[in-house]
Amino acid sequence: MSNEVSTEILATHVLDLAKSGKRLDGRALDEMRHLHITPGYVTSADGSALVELGDTKVLAGIKLEPGTPFPDTPNAGVLTTNAEIVPIASPEYEPGPPSIQSVELSRVVDRAIRAAEAIDLKGLCVTPGEKCWTCFVDLHILDDSGNLTDAALIAAMAALRNAKLPAERFELGETKPLDVRHFPIETTFVRIGDAIVVDPSSAEEGTCQGRLTIATDEEGNVVAMQKAKVGAFSPQDVAELVERAFVHGNKVRAALGQLG
Protein backbone atom coordinates (compact mmCIF):
# COMPACT_ATOMS: atom_id res chain seq x y z
CA MET A 1 0.00 0.00 0.00
CA SER A 2 2.78 2.42 0.97
CA ASN A 3 4.24 1.60 -2.40
CA GLU A 4 1.10 2.78 -4.14
CA VAL A 5 1.04 5.96 -2.04
CA SER A 6 4.62 6.84 -2.96
CA THR A 7 3.91 6.11 -6.62
CA GLU A 8 0.98 8.52 -6.50
CA ILE A 9 2.97 11.26 -4.74
CA LEU A 10 5.70 10.94 -7.38
CA ALA A 11 3.14 11.11 -10.18
CA THR A 12 1.60 14.29 -8.78
CA HIS A 13 5.03 15.84 -8.39
CA VAL A 14 6.09 15.01 -11.95
CA LEU A 15 2.82 16.47 -13.20
CA ASP A 16 3.20 19.67 -11.17
CA LEU A 17 6.71 20.18 -12.48
CA ALA A 18 5.56 19.67 -16.08
CA LYS A 19 2.97 22.42 -15.68
CA SER A 20 5.82 24.86 -15.25
CA GLY A 21 7.93 23.28 -18.00
CA LYS A 22 10.23 21.46 -15.62
CA ARG A 23 11.37 17.86 -15.17
CA LEU A 24 12.42 15.80 -12.16
CA ASP A 25 16.05 15.64 -13.24
CA GLY A 26 16.27 19.28 -14.23
CA ARG A 27 16.23 18.71 -17.97
CA ALA A 28 14.38 20.90 -20.45
CA LEU A 29 11.28 19.31 -22.04
CA ASP A 30 13.21 18.69 -25.27
CA GLU A 31 16.49 17.68 -23.71
CA MET A 32 17.96 14.22 -24.07
CA ARG A 33 20.06 12.68 -21.32
CA HIS A 34 23.81 12.26 -21.80
CA LEU A 35 24.53 9.58 -24.42
CA HIS A 36 27.65 7.43 -24.29
CA ILE A 37 28.40 4.66 -26.77
CA THR A 38 31.11 1.97 -26.51
CA PRO A 39 31.31 0.01 -29.78
CA GLY A 40 32.99 -3.41 -29.65
CA TYR A 41 32.28 -3.80 -25.94
CA VAL A 42 31.97 -7.60 -26.14
CA THR A 43 34.60 -9.44 -28.16
CA SER A 44 32.74 -12.78 -28.14
CA ALA A 45 30.11 -11.20 -30.41
CA ASP A 46 30.55 -10.49 -34.13
CA GLY A 47 29.58 -6.91 -33.37
CA SER A 48 28.53 -5.16 -30.18
CA ALA A 49 27.93 -1.85 -28.48
CA LEU A 50 27.17 -0.69 -24.98
CA VAL A 51 24.87 2.32 -24.89
CA GLU A 52 24.45 4.46 -21.79
CA LEU A 53 21.63 6.99 -22.03
CA GLY A 54 21.70 8.67 -18.66
CA ASP A 55 21.45 5.75 -16.24
CA THR A 56 19.80 3.51 -18.84
CA LYS A 57 22.19 0.82 -20.07
CA VAL A 58 21.65 -1.44 -23.08
CA LEU A 59 24.18 -3.90 -24.47
CA ALA A 60 23.63 -5.07 -28.04
CA GLY A 61 25.43 -8.11 -29.43
CA ILE A 62 25.37 -9.33 -33.03
CA LYS A 63 25.91 -12.94 -34.01
CA LEU A 64 26.05 -14.01 -37.65
CA GLU A 65 25.53 -17.68 -38.48
CA PRO A 66 24.77 -19.69 -41.63
CA GLY A 67 21.10 -20.64 -41.90
CA THR A 68 18.26 -21.23 -44.35
CA PRO A 69 16.25 -18.45 -46.05
CA PHE A 70 12.51 -18.23 -45.35
CA PRO A 71 10.52 -19.93 -48.14
CA ASP A 72 8.82 -16.63 -49.10
CA THR A 73 12.11 -14.67 -49.30
CA PRO A 74 14.51 -17.16 -50.92
CA ASN A 75 16.94 -14.42 -51.98
CA ALA A 76 17.41 -12.77 -48.61
CA GLY A 77 19.16 -13.40 -45.32
CA VAL A 78 17.29 -13.57 -42.04
CA LEU A 79 17.18 -10.85 -39.37
CA THR A 80 16.15 -11.86 -35.84
CA THR A 81 15.86 -9.28 -33.09
CA ASN A 82 15.48 -10.32 -29.50
CA ALA A 83 15.32 -8.16 -26.38
CA GLU A 84 15.67 -9.43 -22.83
CA ILE A 85 14.94 -7.16 -19.89
CA VAL A 86 17.10 -9.18 -17.51
CA PRO A 87 16.44 -9.10 -13.76
CA ILE A 88 19.38 -6.83 -12.91
CA ALA A 89 17.66 -4.08 -14.92
CA SER A 90 14.69 -3.21 -12.76
CA PRO A 91 12.59 -4.39 -9.82
CA GLU A 92 9.73 -5.31 -12.16
CA TYR A 93 11.33 -8.52 -13.42
CA GLU A 94 9.25 -11.70 -13.15
CA PRO A 95 10.49 -15.21 -13.93
CA GLY A 96 9.02 -16.98 -16.95
CA PRO A 97 8.84 -16.36 -20.69
CA PRO A 98 9.88 -12.93 -22.07
CA SER A 99 7.59 -10.23 -20.66
CA ILE A 100 5.22 -8.44 -23.00
CA GLN A 101 7.44 -5.35 -22.56
CA SER A 102 10.43 -7.31 -23.88
CA VAL A 103 8.38 -8.58 -26.80
CA GLU A 104 7.15 -5.10 -27.73
CA LEU A 105 10.64 -3.64 -27.37
CA SER A 106 12.21 -6.21 -29.66
CA ARG A 107 9.46 -5.86 -32.24
CA VAL A 108 9.61 -2.06 -32.32
CA VAL A 109 13.40 -2.09 -32.73
CA ASP A 110 13.18 -4.83 -35.35
CA ARG A 111 10.52 -2.91 -37.28
CA ALA A 112 12.67 0.23 -37.48
CA ILE A 113 15.72 -1.71 -38.73
CA ARG A 114 13.61 -3.61 -41.24
CA ALA A 115 11.47 -0.71 -42.52
CA ALA A 116 14.51 1.54 -42.91
CA GLU A 117 16.26 -1.28 -44.78
CA ALA A 118 19.20 -0.56 -42.49
CA ILE A 119 21.08 -3.69 -43.45
CA ASP A 120 21.24 -5.24 -46.89
CA LEU A 121 19.32 -8.49 -46.33
CA LYS A 122 19.71 -9.53 -49.98
CA GLY A 123 23.47 -9.33 -49.55
CA LEU A 124 23.17 -11.95 -46.79
CA CYS A 125 21.89 -14.59 -49.23
CA VAL A 126 24.53 -17.21 -50.03
CA THR A 127 22.63 -19.72 -52.21
CA PRO A 128 19.06 -18.68 -53.09
CA GLY A 129 16.50 -20.81 -51.28
CA GLU A 130 19.19 -22.89 -49.61
CA LYS A 131 21.74 -20.99 -47.60
CA CYS A 132 21.96 -17.53 -46.13
CA TRP A 133 23.32 -15.66 -43.15
CA THR A 134 21.12 -15.27 -40.11
CA CYS A 135 21.78 -12.02 -38.29
CA PHE A 136 20.87 -12.17 -34.60
CA VAL A 137 20.50 -8.81 -32.88
CA ASP A 138 20.37 -9.55 -29.15
CA LEU A 139 19.53 -6.68 -26.82
CA HIS A 140 20.52 -7.24 -23.22
CA ILE A 141 18.88 -4.58 -21.06
CA LEU A 142 21.16 -3.95 -18.07
CA ASP A 143 19.51 -0.93 -16.45
CA ASP A 144 15.98 0.23 -17.21
CA SER A 145 16.11 3.86 -16.15
CA GLY A 146 13.68 4.87 -18.88
CA ASN A 147 13.36 5.04 -22.66
CA LEU A 148 14.66 1.61 -23.49
CA THR A 149 13.39 1.84 -27.06
CA ASP A 150 15.63 4.69 -28.19
CA ALA A 151 18.66 3.31 -26.35
CA ALA A 152 18.07 -0.17 -27.76
CA LEU A 153 17.89 0.96 -31.40
CA ILE A 154 21.03 3.08 -30.96
CA ALA A 155 22.79 0.06 -29.45
CA ALA A 156 21.55 -2.19 -32.26
CA MET A 157 22.67 0.24 -34.98
CA ALA A 158 26.06 0.85 -33.33
CA ALA A 159 26.58 -2.91 -32.98
CA LEU A 160 25.56 -3.56 -36.61
CA ARG A 161 27.96 -0.87 -37.80
CA ASN A 162 30.64 -2.52 -35.66
CA ALA A 163 29.88 -6.06 -36.94
CA LYS A 164 31.99 -8.26 -39.16
CA LEU A 165 30.55 -11.06 -41.25
CA PRO A 166 32.65 -14.04 -40.02
CA ALA A 167 32.83 -15.71 -43.42
CA GLU A 168 36.25 -17.26 -42.88
CA ARG A 169 35.17 -19.06 -39.71
CA PHE A 170 32.44 -20.81 -41.71
CA GLU A 171 34.51 -21.22 -44.88
CA LEU A 172 32.24 -18.90 -46.83
CA GLY A 173 34.82 -16.52 -48.22
CA GLU A 174 36.52 -13.50 -46.76
CA THR A 175 35.53 -11.89 -43.48
CA LYS A 176 34.32 -8.34 -44.07
CA PRO A 177 32.26 -5.63 -42.38
CA LEU A 178 28.49 -6.04 -42.41
CA ASP A 179 26.85 -3.86 -45.06
CA VAL A 180 24.85 -1.21 -43.16
CA ARG A 181 23.01 1.08 -45.58
CA HIS A 182 20.55 3.21 -43.67
CA PHE A 183 20.47 4.78 -40.30
CA PRO A 184 17.13 4.78 -38.46
CA ILE A 185 16.87 6.48 -35.08
CA GLU A 186 13.88 6.29 -32.78
CA THR A 187 12.66 9.23 -30.72
CA THR A 188 10.31 8.56 -27.87
CA PHE A 189 8.01 11.10 -26.25
CA VAL A 190 5.64 10.85 -23.31
CA ARG A 191 2.74 13.06 -22.39
CA ILE A 192 2.81 14.49 -18.85
CA GLY A 193 -0.44 16.44 -18.52
CA ASP A 194 -0.30 19.01 -21.30
CA ALA A 195 3.45 18.77 -21.78
CA ILE A 196 5.16 16.28 -24.07
CA VAL A 197 8.75 15.46 -23.16
CA VAL A 198 11.47 13.63 -25.05
CA ASP A 199 13.68 10.77 -23.79
CA PRO A 200 11.57 9.95 -20.71
CA SER A 201 13.09 8.71 -17.47
CA SER A 202 11.58 5.66 -15.77
CA ALA A 203 9.71 7.95 -13.34
CA GLU A 204 8.20 9.83 -16.28
CA GLU A 205 7.27 6.61 -18.08
CA GLY A 206 5.63 5.32 -14.92
CA THR A 207 3.33 8.34 -14.64
CA CYS A 208 2.74 9.36 -18.26
CA GLN A 209 -0.53 9.58 -20.20
CA GLY A 210 0.66 8.02 -23.44
CA ARG A 211 3.97 7.30 -25.13
CA LEU A 212 4.81 7.79 -28.82
CA THR A 213 7.92 6.49 -30.57
CA ILE A 214 8.78 7.80 -34.03
CA ALA A 215 11.56 6.30 -36.13
CA THR A 216 13.10 8.48 -38.84
CA ASP A 217 15.82 7.77 -41.35
CA GLU A 218 18.60 9.99 -42.67
CA GLU A 219 16.68 10.71 -45.90
CA GLY A 220 13.71 12.43 -44.32
CA ASN A 221 11.33 9.51 -44.06
CA VAL A 222 9.28 8.38 -41.15
CA VAL A 223 9.82 4.60 -41.17
CA ALA A 224 8.03 3.41 -38.04
CA MET A 225 5.82 4.58 -35.19
CA GLN A 226 4.45 3.01 -32.03
CA LYS A 227 1.97 4.57 -29.65
CA ALA A 228 2.04 2.74 -26.31
CA LYS A 229 0.68 3.02 -22.77
CA VAL A 230 -2.70 4.34 -21.71
CA GLY A 231 -3.22 7.83 -23.15
CA ALA A 232 -3.83 9.64 -26.41
CA PHE A 233 -2.30 12.04 -28.93
CA SER A 234 -4.10 14.38 -31.31
CA PRO A 235 -3.19 14.44 -35.01
CA GLN A 236 -1.68 17.90 -34.32
CA ASP A 237 0.47 16.41 -31.55
CA VAL A 238 1.68 13.76 -33.95
CA ALA A 239 2.57 16.26 -36.66
CA GLU A 240 4.52 18.35 -34.18
CA LEU A 241 6.30 15.34 -32.67
CA VAL A 242 7.33 14.13 -36.12
CA GLU A 243 9.19 17.43 -36.60
CA ARG A 244 10.82 17.11 -33.19
CA ALA A 245 11.76 13.50 -34.01
CA PHE A 246 13.68 14.58 -37.11
CA VAL A 247 15.62 17.21 -35.15
CA HIS A 248 16.45 14.72 -32.44
CA GLY A 249 17.21 11.85 -34.84
CA ASN A 250 19.63 13.91 -36.87
CA LYS A 251 21.43 14.98 -33.69
CA VAL A 252 21.91 11.34 -32.64
CA ARG A 253 22.90 10.26 -36.16
CA ALA A 254 25.60 12.92 -36.12
CA ALA A 255 26.92 11.71 -32.77
CA LEU A 256 26.85 8.09 -33.87
CA GLY A 257 28.36 8.87 -37.25
CA GLN A 258 31.51 10.09 -35.63
CA LEU A 259 32.12 6.68 -34.08
CA GLY A 260 32.42 4.62 -37.20
Binding site: M1, E4, E8, F70, D72, T73, P74, N75, I100, V103, E104, S106, R107, R111, R114, A115, G210, L212, G220, N221, V222, V223, A224, M225, Q226, K227, A228, K229, V230, G231, A232, F233, S234, P235, D237, V238, A239, V242, E243, F246
Partner: protein
Protein backbone atom coordinates in the same frame (compact mmCIF):
# COMPACT_ATOMS: atom_id res chain seq x y z
CA UNK B 1 4.26 -4.62 -45.19
CA UNK B 2 4.00 -8.34 -44.41
CA UNK B 3 6.49 -10.80 -45.80
CA UNK B 4 7.21 -10.15 -49.44
CA UNK B 5 6.60 -13.26 -51.47
CA UNK B 6 8.62 -14.49 -54.39
CA UNK B 7 5.60 -14.29 -56.66
CA UNK B 8 4.93 -11.56 -59.15
CA UNK B 9 3.64 -8.39 -57.60
CA UNK B 10 0.02 -7.73 -58.65
CA UNK B 11 -0.99 -4.38 -60.10
CA UNK B 12 -2.50 -2.57 -57.14
CA UNK B 13 -4.00 0.45 -58.93
CA UNK B 14 -5.53 0.44 -62.40
CA UNK B 15 -5.48 3.20 -65.02
CA UNK B 16 -8.62 4.77 -63.50
CA UNK B 17 -7.15 4.89 -60.02
CA UNK B 18 -9.34 1.98 -58.91
CA UNK B 19 -7.97 -0.53 -56.45
CA UNK B 20 -7.62 -4.28 -56.87
CA UNK B 21 -11.17 -4.81 -55.55
CA UNK B 22 -12.62 -1.84 -57.42
CA UNK B 23 -12.62 0.59 -54.50
CA UNK B 24 -11.62 4.24 -54.58
CA UNK B 25 -8.58 5.29 -52.58
CA UNK B 26 -10.62 6.61 -49.67
CA UNK B 27 -13.30 3.92 -49.67
CA UNK B 28 -13.82 1.46 -46.84
CA UNK B 29 -14.52 -2.22 -47.37
CA UNK B 30 -18.09 -3.30 -46.45
CA UNK B 31 -18.45 -3.43 -42.65
CA UNK B 32 -21.10 -5.25 -40.63
CA UNK B 33 -21.22 -5.22 -36.83
CA UNK B 34 -23.48 -7.25 -34.58
CA UNK B 35 -23.56 -6.82 -30.80
CA UNK B 36 -24.52 -9.45 -28.22
CA UNK B 37 -23.68 -12.59 -30.18
CA UNK B 38 -22.37 -14.78 -27.35
CA UNK B 39 -24.34 -16.17 -24.41
CA UNK B 40 -21.68 -16.69 -21.72
CA UNK B 41 -19.82 -13.38 -22.11
CA UNK B 42 -20.71 -10.18 -20.24
CA UNK B 43 -20.66 -8.45 -23.63
CA UNK B 44 -19.78 -9.46 -27.16
CA UNK B 45 -19.68 -8.38 -30.79
CA UNK B 46 -19.06 -9.87 -34.20
CA UNK B 47 -17.44 -7.89 -37.01
CA UNK B 48 -17.41 -8.86 -40.67
CA UNK B 49 -15.24 -6.38 -42.51
CA UNK B 50 -14.33 -7.19 -46.09
CA UNK B 51 -13.05 -10.72 -45.80
CA UNK B 52 -12.21 -10.38 -42.10
CA UNK B 53 -14.35 -12.17 -39.54
CA UNK B 54 -13.62 -11.26 -35.94
CA UNK B 55 -15.41 -12.01 -32.68
CA UNK B 56 -14.81 -10.16 -29.42
CA UNK B 57 -16.04 -10.80 -25.89
CA UNK B 58 -15.71 -8.98 -22.60
CA UNK B 59 -15.82 -10.60 -19.15
CA UNK B 60 -15.97 -8.57 -15.97
CA UNK B 61 -15.35 -6.55 -13.95
CA UNK B 62 -14.55 -9.65 -11.88
CA UNK B 63 -12.15 -10.93 -9.23
CA UNK B 64 -8.44 -11.12 -10.05
CA UNK B 65 -6.42 -14.34 -9.69
CA UNK B 66 -3.75 -14.66 -8.46
CA UNK B 67 -4.41 -11.96 -5.90
CA UNK B 68 -1.03 -10.20 -6.10
CA UNK B 69 -1.93 -9.27 -9.68
CA UNK B 70 -4.78 -7.08 -8.50
CA UNK B 71 -4.39 -3.34 -8.08
CA UNK B 72 -5.88 -1.43 -5.19
CA UNK B 73 -6.68 1.73 -7.13
CA UNK B 74 -7.93 0.47 -10.48
CA UNK B 75 -9.20 -2.43 -12.54
CA UNK B 76 -6.59 -4.48 -14.40
CA UNK B 77 -7.37 -4.62 -18.13
CA UNK B 78 -6.37 -7.95 -19.68
CA UNK B 79 -6.47 -8.04 -23.46
CA UNK B 80 -5.81 -11.05 -25.69
CA UNK B 81 -5.84 -10.93 -29.49
CA UNK B 82 -5.66 -14.40 -31.02
CA UNK B 83 -5.85 -15.81 -34.54
CA UNK B 84 -7.53 -19.12 -35.28
CA UNK B 85 -5.08 -21.54 -36.88
CA UNK B 86 -7.20 -21.68 -40.05
CA UNK B 87 -7.78 -17.93 -40.32
CA UNK B 88 -4.77 -17.45 -42.62
CA UNK B 89 -3.52 -19.13 -45.78
CA UNK B 90 -0.78 -21.18 -44.17
CA UNK B 91 -1.95 -22.90 -41.00
CA UNK B 92 -0.79 -20.99 -37.92
CA UNK B 93 0.29 -22.94 -34.84
CA UNK B 94 -2.28 -22.44 -32.07
CA UNK B 95 -1.23 -20.03 -29.32
CA UNK B 96 0.00 -16.45 -29.10
CA UNK B 97 3.06 -15.65 -31.18
CA UNK B 98 5.06 -12.46 -30.59
CA UNK B 99 3.00 -10.48 -33.10
CA UNK B 100 -0.23 -11.39 -31.31
CA UNK B 101 1.30 -10.47 -27.96
CA UNK B 102 2.28 -7.02 -29.21
CA UNK B 103 -1.16 -6.43 -30.73
CA UNK B 104 -2.82 -7.57 -27.50
CA UNK B 105 -0.78 -4.95 -25.63
CA UNK B 106 -1.48 -1.99 -27.91
CA UNK B 107 -5.21 -2.78 -28.21
CA UNK B 108 -5.51 -3.17 -24.43
CA UNK B 109 -3.77 0.15 -23.83
CA UNK B 110 -5.91 1.86 -26.46
CA UNK B 111 -9.16 0.67 -24.88
CA UNK B 112 -8.04 1.31 -21.30
CA UNK B 113 -7.64 4.94 -22.40
CA UNK B 114 -11.47 5.27 -22.61
CA UNK B 115 -12.37 3.13 -19.57
CA UNK B 116 -12.93 4.45 -16.05
CA UNK B 117 -10.72 1.80 -14.48
CA UNK B 118 -10.41 3.64 -11.16
CA UNK B 119 -14.13 2.94 -10.63
CA UNK B 120 -13.46 -0.81 -10.31
CA UNK B 121 -10.47 -1.28 -7.99
CA UNK B 122 -9.24 -4.83 -7.31
CA UNK B 123 -11.08 -6.27 -10.33
CA UNK B 124 -10.10 -7.30 -13.82
CA UNK B 125 -11.77 -6.58 -17.13
CA UNK B 126 -10.99 -9.23 -19.73
CA UNK B 127 -11.13 -8.21 -23.39
CA UNK B 128 -10.78 -11.15 -25.76
CA UNK B 129 -10.55 -11.02 -29.55
CA UNK B 130 -10.65 -14.01 -31.88
CA UNK B 131 -9.79 -13.61 -35.55
CA UNK B 132 -11.69 -16.31 -37.42
CA UNK B 133 -10.80 -15.23 -40.96
CA UNK B 134 -8.07 -12.72 -41.78
CA UNK B 135 -7.55 -10.39 -44.72
CA UNK B 136 -5.41 -7.45 -43.47
CA UNK B 137 -6.62 -4.99 -40.86
CA UNK B 138 -7.47 -7.55 -38.19
CA UNK B 139 -6.09 -5.47 -35.32
CA UNK B 140 -8.43 -2.62 -36.30
CA UNK B 141 -11.34 -5.01 -36.78
CA UNK B 142 -10.58 -6.53 -33.38
CA UNK B 143 -10.49 -3.14 -31.72
CA UNK B 144 -13.77 -2.10 -33.35
CA UNK B 145 -15.39 -5.35 -32.18
CA UNK B 146 -13.93 -5.13 -28.66
CA UNK B 147 -15.13 -1.57 -28.26
CA UNK B 148 -18.72 -2.60 -29.11
CA UNK B 149 -18.40 -5.64 -26.81
CA UNK B 150 -17.40 -3.33 -23.93
CA UNK B 151 -20.49 -1.21 -24.54
CA UNK B 152 -22.63 -4.36 -24.79
CA UNK B 153 -21.20 -5.41 -21.41
CA UNK B 154 -22.45 -2.16 -19.94
CA UNK B 155 -18.98 -1.03 -18.90
CA UNK B 156 -18.85 2.78 -18.77
CA UNK B 157 -16.56 4.36 -21.37
CA UNK B 158 -15.88 7.93 -22.38
CA UNK B 159 -16.53 6.99 -26.03
CA UNK B 160 -16.62 4.15 -28.54
CA UNK B 161 -13.31 3.56 -30.36
CA UNK B 162 -13.36 3.18 -34.15
CA UNK B 163 -10.13 2.10 -35.89
CA UNK B 164 -8.80 1.74 -39.42
CA UNK B 165 -5.50 1.52 -41.29
CA UNK B 166 -4.27 3.82 -44.02
CA UNK B 167 -1.52 2.60 -46.32
CA UNK B 168 0.59 3.62 -49.26
CA UNK B 169 -0.08 1.61 -52.39
CA UNK B 170 1.67 2.16 -55.72
CA UNK B 171 2.74 5.57 -54.41
CA UNK B 172 -0.77 6.67 -53.33
CA UNK B 173 -2.37 6.82 -49.92
CA UNK B 174 -5.25 4.37 -49.57
CA UNK B 175 -7.79 3.73 -46.84
CA UNK B 176 -8.38 0.30 -45.29
CA UNK B 177 -5.89 -1.98 -47.08
CA UNK B 178 -6.79 -5.50 -48.09
CA UNK B 179 -4.27 -8.37 -48.10
CA UNK B 180 -2.53 -7.79 -51.44
CA UNK B 181 -2.23 -4.07 -50.73
CA UNK B 182 -0.78 -4.80 -47.32
CA UNK B 183 1.69 -7.36 -48.66
CA UNK B 184 2.93 -5.35 -51.61
CA UNK B 185 2.33 -1.79 -50.38
CA UNK B 186 4.94 0.69 -49.21
CA UNK B 187 3.58 1.64 -45.81
CA UNK B 188 0.82 0.86 -43.33
CA UNK B 189 -0.54 3.10 -40.56
CA UNK B 190 -3.19 1.54 -38.31
CA UNK B 191 -4.88 3.96 -35.93
CA UNK B 192 -7.76 4.16 -33.47
CA UNK B 193 -9.67 7.33 -32.68
CA UNK B 194 -11.68 8.64 -29.73
CA UNK B 195 -14.18 10.68 -31.77
CA UNK B 196 -15.35 12.93 -28.93
CA UNK B 197 -11.81 14.10 -28.08
CA UNK B 198 -10.36 13.83 -31.59
CA UNK B 199 -7.36 11.99 -30.18
CA UNK B 200 -5.68 8.78 -31.27
CA UNK B 201 -5.29 5.97 -28.74
CA UNK B 202 -3.63 3.53 -31.11
CA UNK B 203 -1.09 4.55 -33.72
CA UNK B 204 1.49 2.36 -35.39
CA UNK B 205 3.39 2.70 -38.63
CA UNK B 206 5.79 0.72 -40.74
CA UNK B 207 7.23 1.58 -44.15
CA UNK B 208 8.30 4.82 -45.79
CA UNK B 209 6.35 8.09 -45.63
CA UNK B 210 7.30 11.71 -45.78
CA UNK B 211 5.99 14.05 -43.10
CA UNK B 212 3.32 15.34 -45.45
CA UNK B 213 2.19 11.89 -46.50
CA UNK B 214 1.94 10.86 -42.86
CA UNK B 215 -0.13 13.93 -42.03
CA UNK B 216 -2.52 13.23 -44.89
CA UNK B 217 -2.68 9.55 -43.99
CA UNK B 218 -3.76 10.38 -40.46
CA UNK B 219 -6.41 12.77 -41.79
CA UNK B 220 -7.78 10.05 -44.08
CA UNK B 221 -7.80 7.59 -41.18
CA UNK B 222 -9.65 10.00 -38.90
CA UNK B 223 -12.30 10.48 -41.61
CA UNK B 224 -12.62 6.72 -41.98
CA UNK B 225 -12.93 6.28 -38.23
CA UNK B 226 -15.91 8.66 -38.15
CA UNK B 227 -17.75 6.47 -40.68
CA UNK B 228 -16.97 3.34 -38.67
CA UNK B 229 -18.15 5.11 -35.51
CA UNK B 230 -21.62 5.49 -37.04
CA UNK B 231 -21.79 1.78 -37.82
CA UNK B 232 -20.69 0.94 -34.25
CA UNK B 233 -23.43 3.14 -32.81
CA UNK B 234 -26.03 1.65 -35.16
CA UNK B 235 -25.06 -1.88 -34.03
CA UNK B 236 -25.61 -0.90 -30.40
CA UNK B 237 -28.92 0.82 -31.15
CA UNK B 238 -30.09 -2.35 -32.84
CA UNK B 239 -28.91 -4.45 -29.92
CA UNK B 240 -30.73 -2.28 -27.38
CA UNK B 241 -33.95 -2.16 -29.40
CA UNK B 242 -33.97 -5.96 -29.65
CA UNK B 243 -33.27 -6.22 -25.94
CA UNK B 244 -36.07 -3.72 -25.16
CA UNK B 245 -38.56 -5.59 -27.31
CA UNK B 246 -38.13 -8.41 -24.84
CA UNK B 247 -36.27 -10.55 -27.33
CA UNK B 248 -32.61 -11.42 -27.23
CA UNK B 249 -30.04 -11.14 -30.00
CA UNK B 250 -29.49 -14.37 -31.85
Amino acid sequence: MGSVGAKDIPELLDANGKRIDGRDLNELRPLKIEAGVLQRATGSAFVEWGENKVMAAVYGPREVHPRHMQENTKAVVQCRYNMASFSVDERKRPGLDRRSQEISKVIGEALESVLFVEEYPRTSIGIYIEVLQANAGTRCAGLVAASVALADAGIPMSDLVPAVAVGKVAGKLALDLRKEEDNYGEADVPMALVPKSGRLVLLQMEGHMTRDELKTAIDMGVQGCHKIYEIQKEALRKRYSIAHDGGDAQ
